[in-house]
Amino acid sequence: MSTTTQTRPTTWTDACSIDRLHPEDGVAILLPDGTQVALFLTRDEHLYAVDNIDPYTGAAVISRGIVGDRSGEPTIASPMLKNVFSLRTGHSLDEDGVHLDTWPVRRDGATVQIATRAEENTP
């Protein structure tokens, strides 16, 4: 079990139960403020939370994409036009300057929680 590094103290919001998350099978989470997050569990049991909205088309579909890796970097491919983003940083691996916001995510017992303020400009 592991969590991504938390950069600053925030409110943790319950996303879903851990049973709901299957490896490499994303789900969409609706945050209280209406923001949509795509939540993933990778095969090596890392949790990642990124923007659910595809920056290229505006459609809320990132959670339905394919999880994988590029030279070891964990990735998510948008199902819309197959643009590939790093799950860790949210950055596009094909085009400079395009990125998905990312959120800290952790496991609290049987519950997965997301820190409800987006990290801005992750490295």
Partner: protein
């Protein structure tokens, strides 16, 4: 600048202009071309493909006119004035020349038998001839070709493609007497008869008879045999067009042809003759390769070179009606003391003969019928010592397996364009590392194409191989992964990647492997881990639209649907507020469904008897049909019944790319079957099966794989074809580029599918039977399984809350996506091309 006039803008005349263009960079020559046909030069060798979907534009050899070249088409040269060095044309134009080239070709010889000029009698040489034959075939039932040579057989195939019952009448005791011997001829006859062409050898056509309406109705053979014939094509030989030369007083041969010497010069030093019009050392060559060689010689002479023509190879390879025939070198064994090695295997439909020197060391020539794969290797070996035991060379895999290294550098690989192995190796060294580049650089492979397999071998011998790796995670090609999965019985992606790949996978290898697992009977595509491998549309069994909603396409096999079912579709669309459209695939698409609505929509559809249409899958889409005999007054078979049967047989079959099919009830082809991966067209005798058709980026007409099949044979062939494709194609490679990529192309495919040359037909059929038996409706299975249903929610923490970003406006009374919010979006990068 000097004036060059070229009479005749056929294949060889065209080659001359190209060759001169390449050499005369200083523009010493101004060229004027006069051609009698209404269009510029076209590929006469490929003329028959006009009946197979090629247009006049496709056949065109390209425009050569420019500042130094004037081309006048539709204009016949009528006289040559040698004293004043001018040519006069039918429009009255007078063209002065310093040099004149006669490239007037030949005309088909029509024997002066009674009735030879009746309406319905044709020859086979120009596009206009083919148009006339097509027009004349309307309403005709039988067509007879007089002459069983290379061209006659091509013409017979054309008649067959036009839906006529085809006959070939040949005077000699066997077919293609000029190229092959009796043993080969009798096997060829059997193979061709099997395909439904009636062959009459040893028969003299003595008269053409007309019926009351004045058109041909039958042919008299010998004294009193009659053969029904609504259309007759003469193909008994050609006559060089030497009339202009004759009138101008040039020397012509005893049996015709403008006499030329080794520099291709006629008896007038200012006049050359090339191609089929020329007679060199008593021979008039009826083939393109010698003509091209003459054109090159004249071009060289014109720029002061000393090239000569000393005779040419008359090797031929014919691929017709699915039968390979090749003849090369001294095929008839006329060299004194020549020895024959013959394999005559009537059972498998193969005949092969090698002609060897008296000491059995040197290959002199040969004949191959039924399987000519060895031609590409053997022909360049003529005159060289044999690299292996002669018998081994003509067993099925023998010569085909011979590496290019068996050939000397001087071996001519492309006989059409006189390109040697040495020249090819040099071109490869200059960086031409694939077949298209080699073709562009050396012209090898650009005419009849029979040397292309050899080009590939030479590339391979030079150590050049394209990477076949699927992606960074798998070094194997898709076809190799199929073999690995079959051999190891692997059933999951994770097992496969940990044993044979690296990393976690990606959006390329995951869907590709998911598709292979599904093709090999891997169960429901949303079962367990498989769900995470699927491409966008397969992942939710629906097609994702631009705003993240989905479309729903129920299967409507053959496009046939009852009013009650139509009403259900209408009601579902109304109740869920879906945009409704009739698709190009003869069914109905309902757009704008949100993820969480899909199960409710499908429940209504499944209850009404619908099932998934797999519009989302790389799998069978639709089998379109026309109404056929059910309603149409022209229909000759039940096209709707067959389309439904095929759609129900192959539905759900996962494949490297989508599969489309159609069935037409007659040759009018209302179902557009020849635009499909496999298309079926009804004939009086059964069904013609066409494969490799495609719309999309690179449209292509499907080509005939086998003709006049009964329904059971048809289905067996399609079973084999589809399974072979599933196992060997690349990811996202549709059938058309797949067939192109096969070594030996369509011919090879036909060998595998029809003649079972790989011995895998039974296995392929069994695999298809397994697929048919295991088929279940994917959507019904989802509705019955709470685990799979759980995926169809908008949010894990708010399963029925609609995605707030989705909204619609109304256009033409239907809901359509609201224009997307302007997010300052980057421009989408171009999507991966399908092929």
């Amino acid at each position: 600048m000097e004036e060059l006039v070229v009479i005749g803008n056929g294949m060889v005349g065209h080659r001359l202009i190209e060759a001169l263009h390449d050499r005369d960079s200083a523009h010493h020559w101004h060229i004027t071309v006069v051609g009698e046909e209404p269009r510029t030069a076209y590929d006469r060798v490929a003329l028959s493909s006009y009946f197979d979907g090629a247009s006049a534009q496709d056949l065109s050899l390209g425009d050569v006119s420019g500042p130094h070249v004037d081309v006048h088409v539709n204009e016949r040269a009528t006289a040559i004035d040698r004293a004043h060095r001018t040519v006069t044309t039918a429009t009255g134009r007078v063209l002065p020349y310093d040099r004149l080239v006669l490239a007037t070709g030949s005309t088909p010889f029509v024997p002066p038998i009674p009735g030879h000029d009746l309406p319905g009698c044709h020859v086979y040489r120009t596009i206009e001839d083919l148009d006339a034959i097509t027009a004349s075939a309307q309403g005709a039932r039988t067509g007879v070709v007089i002459g069983g040579g290379l061209l006659g057989l091509e013409a017979a195939n054309a008649l067959r493609l036009l839906g006529l019952q085809a006959h070939v009448v040949e005077l000699a005791p066997h077919l293609m007497p000029a190229q092959i011997d009796e043993g080969a001829g009798s096997l060829l006859r059997n193979l061709i008869t099997d395909l439904g062409v009636h062959v009459h050898t040893g028969s003299a056509s003595t008269a053409v008879q007309a019926a009351d309406h004045g058109r041909v109705s039958h042919l008299t053979l010998g004294q009193d045999t009659h053969l029904e014939a609504d259309l007759v094509v003469f193909s008994v030989g050609i006559r060089p067009r030497d009339d202009l030369a004759r009138t101008a007083g040039l020397e012509v041969g005893e049996r015709g042809g403008i006499v030329i010497d080794d520099t291709c010069t006629t008896s007038d030093a200012h006049i050359h003759a090339i191609g089929e019009a020329a007679n060199h050392r008593g021979t008039v060559y009826g083939l393109i390769a010698p003509g091209n060689a003459m054109a090159e010689v004249v071009a060289d002479q014109l720029v002061g070179g000393a090239a000569t023509f000393t005779g040419a190879d008359t090797s031929t390879k014919l691929k017709l009606l699915g039968v390979d025939v090749a003849s090369f070198g001294d095929a008839h064994g006329r060299t004194p003391g020549a020895l024959d090695v013959v394999v005559n295997d009537a059972a498998s439909g193969r005949y092969a003969k090698l002609v060897l020197s008296d000491d059995a060391t040197t290959l002199l020539g040969g004949i191959l019928v039924g399987d000519a794969t060895a031609y590409a290797t053997l022909r360049p070996l003529v005159g060289s010592p044999l690299p292996a035991d002669p018998l081994a060379l003509i067993t099925p895999e023998g010569a085909a397996g011979l590496g290019a290294d068996a050939l000397p550098d001087s071996a001519q690989i492309c006989s059409c364009n006189a390109v040697t192995k040495g020249e090819l190796t040099e071109a490869i060294d200059c960086g031409n590392h694939d077949v298209p580049a080699l073709k562009a650089c050396t012209k090898a492979g650009t005419s009849c194409g029979s040397c292309v397999p050899m080009l590939k071998k030479i590339l391979a011998q030079a150590g050049i191989e394209q990477s076949k790796a699927l992606c960074e995670h798998f070094p194997q090609s898709r076809a190799e992964l199929v073999e690995i999965i079959r051999a190891t019985g692997t059933t999951t992606f994770s097992a496969l990647i940990s044993a044979h790949g690296t990393g976690y996978g990606c959006d390329i290898c995951k869907p590709a492997v998911a598709s292979i697992l599904a093709s090999l009977g891997g169960g429901h595509i949303l079962e367990g881990e498989q769900a995470t491998l699927q491409d966008t549309n397969d992942r939710y069994l629906a097609n994702m639209q631009r705003n993240g909603t989905y479309s729903v396409v129920p299967r409507i096999p053959g496009g046939e649907v009852t009013p009650d079912k139509l009403i259900v579709i209408g009601e579902v669309a109304r109740d869920f507020n879906l945009y409704t459209k009739i698709t190009g695939g003869q069914r109905i698409d309902l757009f704008g469904a949100r993820l969480e609505q899909l199960p409710d929509i499908w429940k209504r559809l499944v209850d009404a008897g619908f099932e998934s249409g797999h519009a989302y899958g790389k799998s069978l889409r639709t089998v379109k049909s026309c109404v056929g005999t059910t309603w149409c007054r022209y229909g000759v078979q039940d096209s709707v019944g067959l389309a439904i049967r095929l759609e129900e047989r192959y539905r759900g079959l996962r494949s490297p790319h989508k599969l489309k099919s159609a069935v037409s009830g007659c040759a009018r082809e209302c179902a557009e079957a020849r635009g499909k991966d496999f298309g079926i067209i009804a004939t009086d005798q059964g069904w013609n099966l066409y494969v490799g058709g495609n719309g999309g980026f690179t449209p292509r007409h499907a080509e005939l794989l086998a003709g006049d099949l009964d329904e059971e044979t048809l289905i067996r062939y399609i079973d084999r074809f589809l399974m072979f494709y599933v196992r060997t194609a690349d990811r996202l490679q549709r059938t058309a580029p797949w067939i192109e990529s096969l070594d030996g192309g369509l011919d090879h495919l036909r060998e595998v599918i029809v003649h079972d040359s790989l011995g895998i037909a039974t296995e392929l059929e069994a695999a298809m039977e397994d697929h048919v038996a295991a088929y279940t409706d994917e959507w019904a299975a989802v509705l019955a399984d709470p685990d799979k249903l759980a995926r169809f929610v908008s949010f894990a923490n708010a399963p029925t809350t609609p995605d707030p970003t989705i909204s619609f406006t109304t256009t033409r009374d239907q809901p359509v996506p609201e224009a997307p919010l302007n997010l300052g979006m980057p421009t989408p990068r171009p999507q991966e091309a399908t092929r």
